[in-house]
């Protein structure tokens, strides 16, 4: 039995917590960053008429692993594959593509427990798909419009209860480089119909009903276990999007209403996820509105929950929890 952890080698705090927990339990762990292949890791896989699974393994700087020993995989933000810098740009692109196809193809064909399988993450990471699946699962979502039609956008915002919406990007991640500088496109401040310009026509834009909230909840789901923490914002910036001002946040562990619990379980089942971090807005009537599904979201930032969540993930990987 070996738990394979596919992540960066240095300082990936959610993965580090899980590795530390597995180490303490004496569970064999093999940590590898796919980004090390092919430059620092040798991979060999064989299959043929006498085998139904890939056999072989990889040999790295510190240790070796046989594919057949792997019983579970924890997939947590690995690096892109790195190739020899001596290659030309075109050759490097081809070499990366081949390395990626080989590594992912062999690893993803392993019949073992995944947290989460990357293919399931991809499906759940689509915001339009996540909203639709959440609604079908019985979870309340804010009124949402995706459009590149400025007139449609203004009409949508004008139709909302407070004639107010927020803009948010559709594609992850939140940070991009613009004019050579790192910047983030997060949830915008509240917008009225007159704030919307014809520049909406340049691409798809998402507008979502502005929900006046008491607080947010980060609900982390591990197997059948739910870990919920209220996020209380104490500045104007963090009230718009808590990522805008971390210093103004405080947290409190909370319970999950039964209807939310049932909806979340349906959502997890629909996406075939064993782990997810869900973001809810809780309004002044205590109604929970799901605004974000993060199939591989951070979990360490509510201190009281970090260790219990790491233990639950370790339980999943060890096979103590389904």
């Amino acid at each position: 039995m070996t738990v394979l952890v596919l992540t960066r080698q240095l300082v990936e705090s959610p993965a580090d917590l899980v590795v530390h927990e597995l180490n303490q339990r004496g569970v064999p762990v093999h940590r590898i960053d796919p980004g090390d292949f092919p430059r620092q890791v040798m991979l060999s896989g064989r299959i043929g008429p006498e085998h139904h699974d890939w056999t072989g393994g990889w040999r790295g700087q510190h240790r070796e692993l046989a594919l057949g020993d792997v019983t579970a995989v924890y997939y947590r933000r690995p690096s892109p594959h790195e190739v020899d810098p001596a290659l030309s740009d075109d050759d490097a692109r081809w070499a990366r593509s081949e390395a990626r196809a080989a590594f992912t193809g062999i690893v993803q064909s392993m019949r073992c427990r995944w947290v989460n399988h990357p293919r399931h993450n991809v499906i759940a990471d689509s915001k339009p798909r996540a909203l639709a699946t959440a609604a079908r699962s019985g979870l309340r979502i804010p009124a949402t419009l995706i459009t590149n039609d400025p007139r449609e956008a203004r009409a949508f915002v004008a139709s909302l209860p407070n004639r107010t919406a927020v803009y948010k990007p559709i594609a992850p991640p939140g940070q991009r480089v613009f004019n050579g500088e790192k910047a983030a496109v997060w949830t915008s401040p509240p917008l009225g119909p007159d704030d919307l310009t014809d520049d909406i026509a340049f691409t798809a834009h998402t507008f979502q009903q502005w929900i006046p909230k008491k607080h947010e909840v980060r609900l982390t789901v591990v197997g059948g276990h739910l870990f919920a923490g209220e996020i209380h914002a104490h500045s104007d910036e963090s009230r718009i999007d808590f990522r805008r001002d971390y210093d103004a946040l405080t947290y409190r562990v909370c319970t999950v209403p039964d209807d939310i619990r049932c909806g979340v379980q349906r959502l997890m089942s629909a996406f075939d996820l064993r782990y997810a971090a869900l973001d809810f807005l809780v309004d002044h009537d205590d109604t929970w509105h799901l605004v974000d599904v993060n199939p591989n979201g951070q979990y360490g930032f509510i201190p009281e929950l970090a260790q219990p969540i790491a233990r639950a993930i370790a339980d999943l990987l060890e096979g103590r929890m389904s």
Binding site: V5, R100, Y167, W186, Y246, E304, A306
Partner: protein, 96 residues
Amino acid sequence: MSTALTPARVEGDGPHQRPFGLRTARPITPENTMSVPQTTYCPEQQLALTDDGVPLVTAAATGTTYATDAGATRRDMQWFDDAVSDSDVDAPEEEE
């Protein structure tokens, strides 16, 4: 670490017409960008260790101890809130 940024710099000197959503882009300022502490990788524990030989996940300065600390939150959320794919080895290479 980048130099001081302003919204004007993010908008840049290029064409004035841009997608509406990019008008809401906010610079990642030095004040809210954290640097990763000095660590070494321990092959046996398969963890990053601090200079004192303590696994970073249990070191007092990290965001994974039990004490609530705003800076710790920021570290946990931002160290790797970057362009690396969160979810996918199936995504196109350009997305990573």
